[in-house]
Symmetry: C2
DNA sequence: TCGTACCAATGAAACGATTCAAACTCGAGC
DNA sequence: GCTCGAGTTTGAATCGTTTCATTGGTACGA
């Protein structure tokens, strides 16, 4: 008796055929008002809820989209996720969220899970390189859009931000404000984004004959990782301190900032200019408001869903790679004397 | 030809019956090694992936758990979500995440969606009061655990943090450090957490005859909302400034801090002591490291999943309400002269 | 009165898995 | 040679939808 009502129960209760109930649910126009009322009344009385498993079994696909991100705790992804959810809702789909935590094993688990769920398609910011596993998805015809990763257009659609341009923007800004001994904090460099931002920075530094760029590899991209790099810098002493630091993301930058300012030995931006990447909400409320590179996260999430919708609808596999250009946000940490 | 292989295709390819393939998948012990090898080979060659819709249609329930939070962007929930995902993975389940954004309509949509998906159970931090919608879930036998909200044990299991105790802790700390003109920032007070924290603070203030507590209602719980309350305080002038401010969460506190420090008129903690709630990562890296109330978010997420598992497994509806006690974290913003 | 057209409603078939009673195989034991 | 039982394998029935060819009914024009 505790079993949830099925469409058959509804049909009996309303004295109609099961097909009619289905039509009320899916093609209300095909049903007369009188019948519709009776059926809706029965649905209400029995507390009927459509079983999506049965529906998608028949339909052959679900109304869900799989989204696998590298770290839900990272505000960059949080923002992308939210935009994707909203955009998906407009398409009448729901987003199944997976967090790989930069772990290839967890990523693989989610890919398998989502395949079993027969998701309409997959949005993924892959761990490391595009693996055979993703190629397999493509072969199986699971529409897939890479997020925050440029891809070979012959294989996948993708949305990304031009990290090289962002890195260039950041380093160029430090150079423009007179800094010459630059440092780049980020890691591991096996992460493409980190590598690209570094490359862009190097490109900018090469434009100035007297400028140098030192690479300080961090263990991950967290506040804590940044703090330990910062501590290392503090121990080096003043003469070995860079005069401009570009961090691969804001969390790192905030960590570095903590270390440098907690000692009360160094001032930002007087002794060291600091710029991050992502422009998270907290950049503006840091000890010294943090300059940063803003990524169009909402556009990223929204566009990813749109590209996926394109793939789902069209049969022929034409892929698009959409690249967004990031934006420099100047705050106090790179020398603007007035705040905000 | 592009259709994904079904269990029947595998059976044909391996020259066995469909039941045997199913047994290989679900009860490997029942199948002889020879047959198992043949079937596994066929699975591999055809790239067979189990269709979860069909499986759950037959089984009557899925291996997913619905989780609806008020705001994925809020680090408190991000942390709970992550802990819940990990705990669910241990139980062999996956988490479907929904973000209600404090909107009852979106919440309702997700509840409906998850019901259609026949989730094993639901974890929810409800918008406002426990609505009839939730009671309906209970009647329909969908195991439900309320998160971050105390519930009548007769009706639901729940995990929560004692917000009254947290509010008391915060206010008591301000009083203990000599503050007497306290202010509470938070809103809307229709949110239970906000109301409880306020109530706890009032309880502490009543213990000191000469202490007062002013309530400053904010528009939401964001950095921006905090900033506008802070701006209002700045305009009031020094003589009307409270000497201790307790914010209903860290985001608000960071916002208030921005306003107060940006003007360079007031010093924290000398002129005003400030304490937040949640102890988010960024509390420690604020302009002035922020004292806060730490909530055991990992325990919350993990326990929620465990309570849900209890509900799913046992038939008789015995509910439990687990309450965690928060913890005071003292930093510079309330007067500890040494940092960290 | 009949034929035609149209609209509603019907209900069997199909989707892809799991389940389970029944059938089969193969030795051991008598 | 026959029986018994354990170990395997079989395949029809089932879950709850959607789909679609078919049927029933009504109205209108010829």
């Amino acid at each position: 008796m505790n079993r949830t009502a099925s469409i058959k129960d509804v049909a009996n209760h309303a004295s109609v055929a099961v097909g009619t109930v289905s039509n009320v649910l899916n093609y209300p126009d095909r049903v007369s008002q009188r019948t519709k009322d009776r059926v809706l009344k029965a649905i209400d009385e029995l507390g009927f809820v459509r079983n999506d498993a049965a529906r998608q079994l028949r339909a052959g696909h679900s109304r869900t989209i799989g989204l696998i991100v590298l770290d839900v705790g990272n505000p960059f992804f949080t923002s992308v996720v939210r935009a994707a959810e909203d955009a998906a809702a407009l398409h009448g789909s729901a987003v199944l969220l997976g967090d790989s935590g930069h772990d290839a094993g967890r990523e693989a688990n989610y890919i398998d899970l989502f395949q079993e769920q027969r998701v309409q398609g997959l949005l993924i910011s892959p761990v490391g390189d595009v693996t055979e596993r993703l190629d397999l998805l493509r072969e199986r015809g699971v529409p897939t859009v890479l997020v925050d990763r440029l891809a070979d257009e012959a294989k996948f659609s993708s949305v990304a931000v031009d990290d090289d341009a962002g890195g260039y923007l950041a380093a160029r800004h430090l150079l423009d404000t007179g800094r010459r001994r630059l440092a780049f904090v980020g890691g591991p460099t096996s992460i493409r984004q980190v590598a690209d931002r570094l490359q862009g920075a190097q490109r900018a530094v090469k434009e100035e004959a007297d400028a140098t760029l030192e690479v300080l590899e961090s263990e991950g991209q967290t506040v804590l990782a940044g703090r330990s790099v910062g501590n290392m810098l503090v121990e080096r002493g003043r003469e070995n301190l860079p005069d401009g630091i570009f961090c691969a993301n804001d969390l790192l930058a905030l960590g570095v900032m903590q270390s440098l300012t907690m000692t009360h030995t160094y001032r930002i931006p007087e002794d060291v200019a600091l710029i991050g990447y992502d422009d998270i909400d907290f950049a503006v409320s840091a000890v010294v408001p943090l300059s940063s590179i803003r990524q169009p996260t909402e556009a990223l999430g929204r566009t990813a869903i749109e590209l996926l919708a394109e793939e789902v609808e069209s049969q022929n596999p034409t892929h698009r790679a959409v690249v967004f250009t990031p934006e420099l946000v100047v705050r106090q940490s790179t020398g603007a004397s007035s705040a905000v």
